[in-house]
């Protein structure tokens, strides 16, 4: 008898709650646009925030309501944008996804340090501590804020103390650009060829050459050499206009500190180590 009561009581309570929930689900039903879910499925779902919305769900809602454009999802790339446009029956307006590029090649071997930094391993903190441990006040501090902020695992810290961007994985979301306290990382259109001045220093030539072997010393050799007149001085820094650059490479040959490189052959950690080894050898023979 006891068992029957127990079963009855529990069964009734369960039934009551079940019915209550069913009624509540009907009464408090919230209509959601099925397109929002469809868009949510289509986007990468990394919640990177590159679109300017707080997460992919918010972006999906904004796209469906017409507030945002499908092309605003930069990490999604062409496929995702086409898919969102298909769901909404919209025209595709594609903005080519750019790629993050680190504008500093002053690695551990070639850029001097003012002091050894043992504090919190964070670029922004190091930057505020006596102006950073690097002698160059424009160069990469190498503590990897960009590495940590990247939601796509596209940046890693190389052994030479500079971040290395994996161009396959980089979606051009731009989080590293805003994260870098020294504004060293810039977004460049993918697939475009040309040469780059891999330095952001606005210091005078003398100051630069003391701090870094490969910094732009504002000698203007490249500006004079460029047959396309694609290089201009922005203060104490040479800047190459990628629209005009025809990739002839004369500037790279003329550059005394070797600051200019072709896109796609930006020095890697292996190059940096090889250069360091060579320099050591030269010093040994001298």
């Amino acid at each position: 008898m006891l068992i029957v009561y127990a079963i009855l009581a529990l069964g009734l309570v369960g039934l009551l709650f079940g019915l209550g929930l069913a009624v509540a689900a009907k009464v408090f039903y919230v209509e959601t646009d099925p397109r929002v879910d469809a868009v949510k499925e289509a986007v990468p779902g990394a919640n990177c925030g590159a679109c300017g919305y707080a997460g992919c769900v918010k972006f999906a809602e904004a796209v469906v309501s017409g507030e945002a454009e499908p092309g605003d999802c930069i990490p999604g790339g062409e496929e995702t944008v086409a898919e969102i446009a298909r769901i909404l029956g919209k025209e595709v307006s594609m903005s080519a996804s750019p790629i993050a590029t680190v504008f500093c090649i002053g690695d551990n071997y070639r850029a001097a340090d003012n002091f050894i930094y043992h504090g919190v391993q964070d670029c922004a903190v190091a930057e505020n501590f006596n102006g950073g441990h690097k002698t160059c006040t424009y160069g990469c501090l190498g503590l990897g804020n960009c590495v940590r902020v990247c939601p796509f695992d596209a940046i890693r810290m190389g052994t030479h103390g500079l971040p290395v961007v994996d161009e396959e994985k980089c979606t051009g979301c731009g989080l590293c650009v805003t994260e870098c306290p020294r504004d060293i990382i810039k977004l460049l259109p993918a697939g475009q060829q040309g040469h780059l001045v891999l330095c952001t220093s606005q210091d005078r030539g003398k100051t630069v050459s003391k701090a870094c072997e490969v910094g732009c010393i504002a000698c203007k050799a490249c500006v004079k050499a460029c047959p396309q007149e694609a290089i201009e001085m922005d203060g104490k820094l040479a800047v190459i206009d990628l629209e005009k650059c025809d990739d002839c490479g004369i500037c790279a040959e003329k550059c005394p500190p070797d600051t200019i490189y072709q896109r796609g052959s930006i020095p890697t950690e292996a190059d940096a180590e090889a250069a360091a080894a060579e320099k050591e050898k030269e010093e040994a023979t001298a």
């Binding site: 009561y5 929930l21 391993q121």
Partner: protein
């Protein structure tokens, strides 16, 4: 009045649910990484614990005790908590989308939270009156929130600190939780019911 005040003090500090009774350790370690989520979770727990205790207390006194079915307490209370959380989620989504956004992800987590279950069960076992039970639930959940917020504050600072490799992650979190628990041992014996 005096009993209510001592219940509040006891269950926030002396008999803290997380640090002394070791209930709800899972959310305590899980969502204490950031202050923002810790506060969100705390709010959700305060809300659900109070609601659940009210419903289970009434159900226990007017159904289970009356028909001599006290041995069904555990299973019924689990049922109540689970459906209550579901109900709250559905209702909240309709009437207050902002609050739903804020508590959203934490509500389902609470369904399986042992701290909530412990509050409902203890409220009955301690033979509290209805008002006492509600005050007890609020105090216990505030105690839980206190522990969670303290932990989140410490962990946010630890993010910036240099921690030896072997201790990184869960290890240092557990050690911190232990030290925090020892610190709360200082309240022991200050007050009892």
């Amino acid at each position: 009045m005096e009993t209510l005040l001592s219940i509040i003090f006891i269950y926030i500090f002396v008999d803290n649910f997380v640090l002394h009774r070791f209930f709800g350790i899972c959310p305590f370690l899980g969502v204490s990484r950031k202050m923002e989520t810790a506060v969100g979770m705390s709010m959700a727990v305060i809300f659900v614990m109070t609601m659940a205790t009210m419903v289970t207390w009434l159900l226990n006194s007017f159904v289970l005790v009356r028909y001599g079915l006290e041995y069904l307490q555990i299973v019924t209370f689990i049922l109540v908590i689970a459906s209550l959380v579901q109900l709250v989620e559905t209702v909240l989504r309709k009437i207050s989308p902002t609050l739903y956004q804020g508590l959203g992800i934490f509500l389902p987590l609470i369904t399986t939270n042992c701290a909530v279950f412990a509050v409902t069960l203890l409220a009955v076992r301690m033979e509290f009156s209805f008002v006492e039970a509600i005050v007890f639930a609020v105090a216990a959940s505030v105690g839980f929130s206190l522990a969670l917020v303290i932990m989140a504050g410490i962990r946010e600072r630890m993010e910036m600190a240099k921690i030896p490799d072997v201790l990184e992650g869960s290890a240092v979190t557990l050690i911190t939780a232990g030290i925090l628990s020892i610190a709360f041992l200082g309240f022991q014996g200050m007050l009892s019911l």
